[in-house]
Amino acid sequence: MTSNNPRAGWEKIGDQFYQKVQLYESVFDADLELENYFVAGAPYGGALALWRDASKVARYRTGQSTKSTIDIYSSSGKLISNINWEKGPIKGLGWSDDEKLLVVTEDGIVHCYFGLHGDFQPFLLGHGAEEYGVVSCRFWSQGFVALLGNNTLIAVSSFDEPRPRVLAQPPEGEVHSWSLIPPAYTLSRSVEVLLAIDKTIYVVDASESEDRGLSDGPFKHISVSPNGRFAALYTEDGKVWVVGSDFQNKYSEYDSKAKTTPTQICWCGNDSVILAWEDEVHMVGPNGAAVKYYYDDQVHVVADIDGVRLITNEACEFLHKVPDPLEEIFKLGSTSAASVLVDSIELLEKKSPKADENIQRIKPNLPEAVETCIRAAGDEFNHNFQKQLLRAASFGKSVLDLYSSDEFVDMCEDLRVLNAVRDFRIGLFLSYEQYCRLTPERLIARLVNRRKYLLAIKLSDFLHLPSNKIYVHWASQKVRSSSGDDDAIRELVVERLRGKHGISFETIARAAYDEGRSHLATTLLNHEPRAGKQVPLLLNMEEDEIALNKAIESGDSDLVFFVLLQLKSKLPLATFLRTISEKPVAAALVESSARAQDQDLLKDLYYQDDRPVEGSNLLLEDAMHQPQVHAVMDKLKLAARLLTDAKDPTAIMHTRALTEATQLLKMQEAFDKEITDSSGSFLGLSINETMYRLIKSGYSKRAASVQSAFKVPEKSWWWVRLRALTAARLWGEVEEIAKSKKSPIGWEPFYNEVLGAGNTRLASSFIPKCTSLQPAERIEMWVKCGMIVKAGEEALKAKDLASLESLRDKANGQQHVEIERMLTQLRPKK
């Protein structure tokens, strides 16, 4: 790439320029027969996965193992790893955004390889994939869709937690070709699939399958542009149509005049379509203009967001539309300010005064020109031109009075990073746009997966990104690969990571444990600061007790509970109870969860802990669930029996209460038989309620028997009687009671309750009995009963002139006369 012409490889299609750049040369071994391979490339210039198509005859070569493998290469042809593959034919091979390799077999098993080195997680597609078989798959950055033999479509939209979902069932018939629109670009935000069946195209999403009503099929190829807005269709008669992905508008048509159907159709950016045959590539730009490239042998096309990678044995090339800033500057005869600025740099180097003249001429547009130069530098692949453009920008901004250099500085940094990873030893060739979309963090993650730790750390430091994950990955790798003794490795790792911020030792320990080095794992785990993170691994390692302790330490009850559930299912009950007995938090959690679901466990727990009262309470709760009175009594008996040996006062009180509860139920049962009125069953009432109900229904004798049986205090008894009698308005009985000399609750309540029930006559009869009250209060009581004269008498007795006078105002008719009489009686005689 030492060409001196910035326009090398430019090609004009219609009114746009396209550029084909050679990224790397002699990519693959000459004897690697690319035509026999499937090639899938990860997005953003990522790794390439090659798998030999078993259906094609291959030349036998000595020394080559016959074992089937999936080979992972960088764009520069550097072998990253071989993954052994013995699981039969592959029906789908694709990558996710974060360089997870997905391999789908015919029977619907998906292997999700992460980290580029053969670690994988399998999952099943299900939904009939086994029965009908997977025919093919289409991938997008975070998921894929599989097409089954019966046209069923299964979508997976996350690989962290794959949940295959069936999309709506499309009609029967041969699927000529298909493609998908990623969820990010559809209106519904879920994936949509375009299926070419018969002469038309169906759009299928989760809920419906809709016929787009086209009639010019069958379409041999469908491809959707990276931004999801356009679709390219290849008709049987060799024509390419570019239409909107909603099939409302047709934008252009191109006749390839080819007899054979291309092997591949894909988009190059969002405005041109690539048709690829074995050794020929057509690029169709807007309005049907096209350019053709010919190769000597097989070429594979790997589409990316802003261009395509063309892979042959000899070279890896990048074909893309020339970005606007570059076009603006380098286009022949360009007179834009930016172009002038770049020219003046050459003049400046020649010390020509014209440089200044030029600058003055474009001064009004200089800021934009500088910006264009900076952006062009980012888009330019050639180091020399990058430098030239940046120099131009630098020169331009030095002339400007006010200019923020942030953009310039950022671009310089970004270019350093990009140039570093574009090196053929790394082989991550990203365009600037791809880099922006990928983000620096994920670029670093890619380096880590390629085990380029040193570069990753240097770049992290350079970009001010945290480097802890790199260290953790390195340490995990170290633990996996080294064969030294445990202590030595541990020391090495701990020493190297000392003082580093935010290291997850749990990850490293897990790596050690997975290698079967549990001692190393335990010692490493001690360095993990997050108690919670240690727990799952400790559980795997059968360090139950420690796991439980750590879980409790973390304060996260979910975690404690998790450990407890595991322990409970794996330990014998007695051991389990012993384990938790000394840990109050654990015991509390077990207790409260068992209360909801597992009463038996709770009984065992209380028995083992010697807590008879709690055990008995449990039986009492049981009793409350029984619908039959006899079952209730049985449970109560059991509950009481648990307490027979207990000596503490609570237990004694409980025993007594339980016996009484049984006794009460028996009495209530009897009442139910004897008394058959509409008031319902006595069962379940409390003692006071029972007495109340009895008195109210006129069975005072029976109520009295309840009182004596349970030694209900006199006061309560009187209150219950009073309330019941007034509620039932049994005034006769109230009068009967009123004949008693003394009431343990005083007579005031009688007055209040009876008055409250509206019987003023009876209420007033209690007023004279309230001897402990003040006269004023009694006056008030009389007034409330409407007996003004009586109140007057009370006032007279107390010689309370003021009250009398106020009573006079309330009085009427005869009362008035009476009060006046009392007033005169009380007034001092003149």
Binding site: R163, P466, G555, F561, L658, A661, N688, P713
Partner: protein, 660 residues
């Protein structure tokens, strides 16, 4: 109502908005119409930040309650929105998914949204039931839900019984996570103060989380860039004060005497709403438009939901006042409205007058509607407070709080039992006595227990046992209490109420209810201990002045608990005082510089672990108002949930009967 300046500092509206956005986004992720299945307790919480009509816009067709087991198969998509902490809930979900799947002919799409996070236990239980792969699982990190601008609640209804009855740490962890999220947004609390053993646990957990955060942050790719340098002390939040409910049970047990408190006691406020008979509201006009939409189906015709929040015209000015002053205030308002109306009628009106009147009309009407509602409510409450039983109860309560000999009120309590007042009322009084005097003499307690069993039924053996476990109703034991030398460093196990009542002036005889000058107004005499503790930190000189009326003693200076250490040792539970510094002094300095050197309003976050009552909220708002006047500082209240005495003892009360 003027916006709280604190609201600008800790913006609770942001939390509401974020919660709504997150929920709607999750709903949107499921395409097409869907049925939503909620936990009953969540319905109100969700209603606080999103209207039912909005949910409908996002494709929600019907809403079911998980508890009802009636999810139908009318929609292909079924979304469960649940709290994931409880294994029982998870099991119910698993069963319902299986049920719907077996009964329905359609191939359903199930989604589960766990609040506030997806738990391991939920995964495990779902896996056991074989439905883990069936459902798309996501989480909605809903921790604090703002009830008001200065009040954030986790709405964990069960946290009181979890903490004190079952001794489960779940809510401590949830609180720590929620506070951690606040710290991530506003910076570290420069100082963490607290009282109580659970407060200590919470503070320890916060410290631990902070150290773990460093590792977590860096393993979370989305946030790496921002948090990779560690947290720095906040420049807007001054401190965090954690009050463990256990330290101050009496305040919960006492009957609240503020308007909002009494509404809660009588109608039960949940999620800023009450449900009352339409008759109470006396034909108030149909629900005003601003009524918070809820995710609940319409209730029976005779009941109506009344929203109680700052959107109401009158409520903000009424809620924190002592109930005694409500009548006059309502009267005044009524008169003012009336005179306004007359003015309008009488005046010779120019067009301009008319226009200004018309523009005021909506607010005028809203005010009138609100007046009608509150008059109705106040009358209803008045019926209760005027009753003989209420005054008997209040007398007992005030005597106990003022520190009279408990044995003098025993007779009154016995009478209340005999008169069959609600069990909870009796229990509150007994628990109050037990808490204030560190247990009831065992002979008396025995007799009370017998009377309760006789009056309310033997099933309450369980109630009484649970109350003892809660530590609310215990026999007095000689080795308990503050004289025990062994308790020592671990903190006291009991509070010396007599000493504390004096040293913190918990009782004020001549309290002013109309124009309050002390927090004691919320209980007409009793100043809540919890609030006094906060005052120990924020209003040192005021509190000091109350106790030392003599001149000459200088009030204590300095931060934290300084000046009240002696008193604190007489209160049960550990004392917390932690200062948090940033890893990097430069960074915190830089942050300060960036924020500008001028002192903005500083905020103290008061967090109640185990619940807060409306009376305490009123008292804290009162303190906050004073602070704002004197030093531009404010209080923001956080809590696990809002509690009342009935709810506290209700945690213990057995609800079933024999043979039902």
């Amino acid at each position: 109502m003027a916006a709280h300046p604190a609201a600008k500092v800790i913006n609770t509206q942001e939390i509401t908005d974020k919660a709504r956005r997150d929920l709607l986004q999750l709903l949107e992720a499921v395409r097409g119409k869907k049925n939503l299945v909620l936990e009953r307790s969540l319905a109100g919480t969700i209603g606080l930040f999103v209207k039912f009509s909005t949910l409908q816009e996002y494709g929600v067709d019907k809403v079911f309650f998980l508890e009802n087991h009636n999810v139908d198969s009318s929609q292909r998509n079924v979304i469960f929105l649940l709290r994931g902490d409880n294994a029982k809930t998870v099991r119910t979900v698993a069963e319902q998914i299986k049920l719907v799947r077996s009964e329905s002919k359609i191939d359903h799409e199930f989604s589960i949204i766990w609040i506030p996070r997806r738990t391991r236990v939920s995964d495990m239980v779902l896996e056991e039931h074989g439905v883990l792969g069936e459902a798309t699982i996501s989480e909605l990190a809903l921790y604090f839900v703002p009830l008001e601008q200065d009040l954030m609640s986790l709405e964990l209804e069960s946290s009181f019984s979890d903490l004190y009855l079952r001794k489960e740490p779940t809510s401590v962890f949830a609180s720590a996570t929620a506070l951690m999220r606040l710290q991530k947004q506003y910076g570290l609390f420069p100082r963490i103060l607290g009282k109580g053993d659970n407060a200590k646990r919470l503070a320890d957990l916060l410290q631990r989380m902070r150290s773990e955060e460093d590792v977590n942050a860096s393993s979370d790719p989305s946030k790496t860039y921002l948090t990779s340098f560690g947290l720095t002390p906040s420049s807007v939040v001054e401190n965090l004060i954690i009050i463990d409910r256990e330290v101050d049970f009496p305040t919960v047990l006492a009957t609240q005497l503020t308007y909002q408190g009494l509404i809660d006691e009588n109608f039960g406020i949940s999620n800023n709403q009450i449900e009352v008979d339409t008759s109470v509201l006396g034909g108030a006009p149909a629900p005003p438009q601003q009524q918070t939409g809820t995710a609940q189906p319409p209730t029976a015709a005779t009941k109506r939901k009344v929203p109680l929040d700052s959107s109401d015209k009158l409520y903000p000015s009424l809620r924190d006042a002592n109930f005694a002053t409500i009548g006059p205030t309502l009267n005044q308002t009524a008169r003012r409205l009336q005179s306004d109306q007359q003015n309008i009628k009488q005046q010779d009106q120019s067009i301009a007058d008319l226009r200004s009147f018309v523009s005021k009309l909506p607010s005028y009407q809203a005010e009138q509607a609100s007046l009608k509602i509150h008059t109705g409510l106040a009358e209803e409450i008045l019926k209760v407070t005027r009753s003989e039983v209420f005054s008997a109860m209040l007398e007992v309560q005030q005597n106990l709080l003022a520190g009279s000999d408990p044995s003098t009120v025993h007779e009154n309590i016995e009478e209340l039992i005999a008169r069959d007042v609600p069990l909870k009322t009796v229990l509150r009084l007994l628990c109050l006595e037990s808490c204030l005097s560190n247990g009831i003499r065992s002979r008396d307690l025995e007799s009370f227990k017998r009377q309760i069993l006789q009056a309310y039924g033997f099933q309450h053996i369980l109630t009484l046992a649970d109350l003892e476990k809660l530590g609310l109703l215990v026999p007095r034991e000689s080795h308990r209490g503050y004289l025990n030398p062994i308790a020592g460093a671990a903190g006291q196990t009991a509070t010396d109420w007599n000493a504390v009542r004096k040293s913190l002036t918990l009782w004020i005889d001549d309290v002013q209810e109309t124009d309050p000058n002390d927090t004691a107004y919320v209980f007409s005499g009793y100043a809540p201990l919890s609030v006094r503790l906060v005052q120990c930190i924020l209003q040192k000189s005021y509190l000091f002045g109350l106790v030392n009326t003599r001149q000459g003693n200088t009030p204590p200076t300095g931060g934290g608990w300084k000046g009240f250490e002696d008193t604190l040792t007489r209160i049960r539970g550990a004392t917390v005082d932690v200062t948090q510094k940033g890893h990097d002094a430069d960074a915190s300095h830089a942050r300060k510089t960036l924020r500008g050197s001028k002192e903005g309003p500083k905020v103290s976050v008061v967090f109640f672990l185990g619940g807060v009552t409306y009376a305490e909220i009123a008292a804290l708002r009162f303190v906050s108002g004073q602070l704002e006047k004197s030093s531009w500082r404010r209080i923001v209240i956080g809590t696990t949930h809002v509690i009342s005495g009935d709810r506290a003892v209700g945690a213990a009360v057995e609800k079933r009967k024999f043979v039902e």
